[in-house]
C-alpha cells in the first residue's frame, strides 16, 4: 500500500528512509544527543530512538532558539534525519536549521492525514513537487 500526501515545501530536496514518527514536539537542544542523534529526554515517547538516516515525522520543535544549531550539528556529525516532515505549523527553529543543514523539510497540508503508523514504513520525500509517499515494506 502506498499513500501519497501533499505537503508545503519549506526546504527543497529529496530523501528516502524509514519513518520515525511522533505526535510530541521536540526540543532539539535538550532532548537530542548531538553526537549520536539519540533522543535522550525520558519524558519523550521517542526516548532511545535514533534520528540518523530516518525520515522524522513530528509536529514542530519547541524550546531553545539554539535548536537550529543543534540540527546543523546533527548533520555535521553525520547523525541527522535524511528528511523532516512537520505535521503541524512548521516552526522557525526547524526551518532555519534544515535550511542551513540542507535537510529537505516539508509541512503536511492541514487537509492531509497521515495513516496510523505501523512498523517498517518507508517515507519518500519529493521536496520539489511537495509530495510525501508512505510505503509499507
Amino acid at each position: 500500500m502506498v499513500y501519497s500526501l501533499r505537503c508545503k515545501v519549506i526546504v527543497s530536496g529529496n530523501a528516502r528512509g524509514m519513518i520515525l514518527a511522533t505526535n510530541q514536539p521536540i526540543n532539539f537542544l535538550s532532548s537530542v544527543d548531538h553526537s549520536t542523534g539519540m533522543i535522550i529526554d525520558k519524558n519523550h515517547d521517542l526516548c532511545g530512538h535514533f534520528l540518523k538516516n530516518r525520515v522524522l515525522v513530528f509536529p514542530y520543535a519547541v524550546g531553545s532558539s539554539v535548536g537550529s544549531y543543534s540540527i546543523f550539528a546533527l548533520k555535521s556529525n553525520g547523525v541527522s534525519p535524511l528528511g523532516i516532515i512537520c505535521t503541524s505549523k512548521t516552526d522557525i527553529t526547524t526551518a532555519s536549521g534544515c535550511a542551513i543543514a540542507d535537510i529537505p523539510l516539508l509541512e503536511l497540508y492541514t487537509d492531509q492525514e497521515i495513516p496510523e503508523f505501523q512498523k517498517n514504513v518507508e517515507g519518500i520525500i519529493d521536496g520539489n513537487s511537495g509530495v510525501l509517499q508512505i510505503k509499507r515494506i
Partner: protein
C-alpha cells in the same frame, strides 16, 4: 505561499554578494515559507542566541568561524550569555575556553555589541512600540512582544543571524498587528503568588498551546518583572509560543489548576535539596538583585550560591552597594553567563541545584543531568540563610 523577493534580494539569494549572504537569504526564505510571509521587512535590532560553547558545540564554532570571514552585521546586534565570566578564573578545560574564545571572536568580528546577556531589554534603550526586531533567545522574544510591544517572531539563533547580516526578516505571524491577538486562553483556577508559580504556569502553557500568542486574562495584570521573566522564560522553554497577553477571548480555553501545577513540578522538581543555589535564568536585573539583597539583609548563605547577571547590571549594582551586600552574604556574582546550560554546573561537581527558575530546571535536568530542587526565591532565602 511564495515569499516575494525584490530584485536585489533575489540576486543576494543567488550569490551576488557572496555565499554567507546567500545562505542568510536561504534561511529567510525558508522561515518565510514556514510562517506564510509575503515579503521581507527591515528590522531595527537583532538579538542572537548561540553564544555559549556548551550549546552550539564544535559544529557551531566551525560554522561561525567561516561565516564571520566574509560578512558583517547591518543592524545593531546584541548577543546572549557565553559559558563563563571572562573576568574570573574558572576550572574549565583549555579546550572549552579556546572554543568559547573563537565564538566570541567570530561575533565580535561581525560587529556585535558584546552584551553577553539574555535580558537585553533591561540593558538598552528600546525602540518604540510597534517597531520590528528579530530576537532569538526565547525569554527575550516573549518579553519584548508581551511587555514592551515590539514585534518579533520567536526566532532561532540562525534566523536571527540571517536578520543581522541582511537587516531583514519575514513579515509574518507576530510581526503582523492583527495576528498578535491571542487565539487561546489559559483559564487559571489556582492561586499564583510567587515567581515560581508563574514559571510553572508558563511551562504548562508552552506545552499545551501551539498558537503563537496565549492569553492569561487578568492574572498577569500588574505582575512585577521577576514574575514576567519567569513566565516568559518557561513559556519559551517548553513551547513554540512567542507572546502572552491579558486580552480575554471567547473561544477555546485550557484550564490550569492544582493538578497541572503538580504535573510540572513532578517533572522538574527532582531533588529535595541541593548543594548549590543558582539564581538567574534569565539573568537577574537591578530589580531582582535589590529585592534579593533586601531579603537577605545581614544574613549569610548556608550553601554555595551563584547569581548570574549582565556585566552592566553588576557595575550599576556595585555602585549602589548591592553587590557588596550580596558578596558579604557569600554569593558569587557571575557576569557574561547564565544558569541555563552553564558548564559551571556539572553532575561531577554537584548532586543537586536549588533554583527558582523553571527554565533552569528544565536544562539542568535534561542537559546538564543534575537534579533540581525548585522553590521560590523567598523560600530559598528563608531556608538557606542564617
Amino acid at each position: 505561499m511564495i515569499v516575494d523577493l525584490t530584485k536585489e534580494e533575489e540576486e543576494a539569494l543567488d550569490g551576488k554578494y557572496g555565499q554567507s549572504i546567500s545562505i542568510a537569504y536561504k534561511i529567510l526564505v525558508s522561515i518565510g515559507k514556514a510562517t506564510d510571509a509575503e515579503r521581507l521587512i527591515p528590522v531595527d535590532w537583532v538579538h542572537l542566541s548561540g553564544v555559549n560553547y556548551n550549546t552550539i558545540g564544535a559544529a557551531g564554532v566551525n560554522f561561525l568561524r567561516k561565516y564571520s570571514q566574509e560578512t558583517r552585521f547591518l543592524v545593531p546586534t546584541t548577543i546572549n550569555p557565553m559559558g563563563f565570566d571572562s573576568h574570573k578564573q574558572t576550572n574549565l578545560s583549555e579546550n572549552f575556553k579556546s572554543q568559547q574564545d573563537q565564538i566570541v571572536n567570530a561575533y565580535e568580528k561581525m560587529g556585535t555589541i558584546p552584551s553577553f546577556s539574555c535580558i537585553p531589554y533591561e540593558l538598552f534603550q528600546l525602540p518604540e512600540r510597534g517597531h520590528n526586531v528579530s530576537f532569538a533567545e526565547s525569554n527575550a522574544a516573549v518579553i519584548v512582544n508581551s511587555v514592551f510591544g515590539l514585534h518579533t517572531n520567536k526566532e532561532s539563533s540562525l534566523s536571527a543571524l540571517a536578520s543581522a547580516v541582511t537587516g531583514k526578516a519575514p513579515y509574518s505571524d507576530l510581526r503582523i498587528s492583527n495576528l498578535r491577538d491571542p487565539k487561546i486562553e489559559i483559564e487559571i483556577d489556582t492561586e499564583l503568588n510567587t515567581e515560581l508559580d508563574y514559571g510553572v504556569l508558563g511551562y504548562f502553557s508552552g506545552k499545551s498551546v501551539k498558537e503563537s500568542c496565549v492569553s492569561f486574562g487578568a492574572h498577569i495584570n500588574n505582575i512585577d518583572m521577576y514574575k514576567a521573566k519567569s513566565l516568559a522564560a518557561a513559556l519559551g522553554t517548553s513551547g513554540a509560543c512567542g507572546m502572552f497577553s491579558n486580552k480575554e477571548i471567547t473561544g477555546e480555553k485550557i484550564s490550569f489548576g492544582r493538578e497541572e501545577e503538580n504535573s510540572v513540578m513532578d517533572e522538574l522538581n527532582t531533588s529535595e535539596s541541593g548543594d548549590i543555589i543558582a539564581l538567574g535564568s534569565p539573568q537577574l536585573g537591578m530589580y531582582e538583585l535589590s529585592l534579593l539583597s533586601d531579603m537577605i539583609g545581614n544574613k549569610k548563605f548556608s550553601k554555595q550560591c551563584m547569581i548570574f547577571c549582565p556585566r552592566s547590571i553588576y557595575e550599576k549594582a556595585s555602585n549602589s552597594g548591592i553587590v557588596q551586600r550580596l558578596e558579604n552574604a557569600g554569593a558569587n556574582l557571575i557576569c557574561d553567563a547564565c544558569t541555563c546550560l552553564s558548564p559551571l554546573i556539572t553532575p561531577e561537581e554537584f548532586d543537586g541545584v536549588i533554583t527558582n527558575s523553571v527554565k533552569a530546571a528544565h536544562y539542568l535536568n535534561k542537559s546538564n543531568r543534575v537534579s533540581v530542587c525548585l522553590n521560590d526565591v523567598r523560600s530559598i532565602v528563608k531556608e538557606y540563610t542564617r
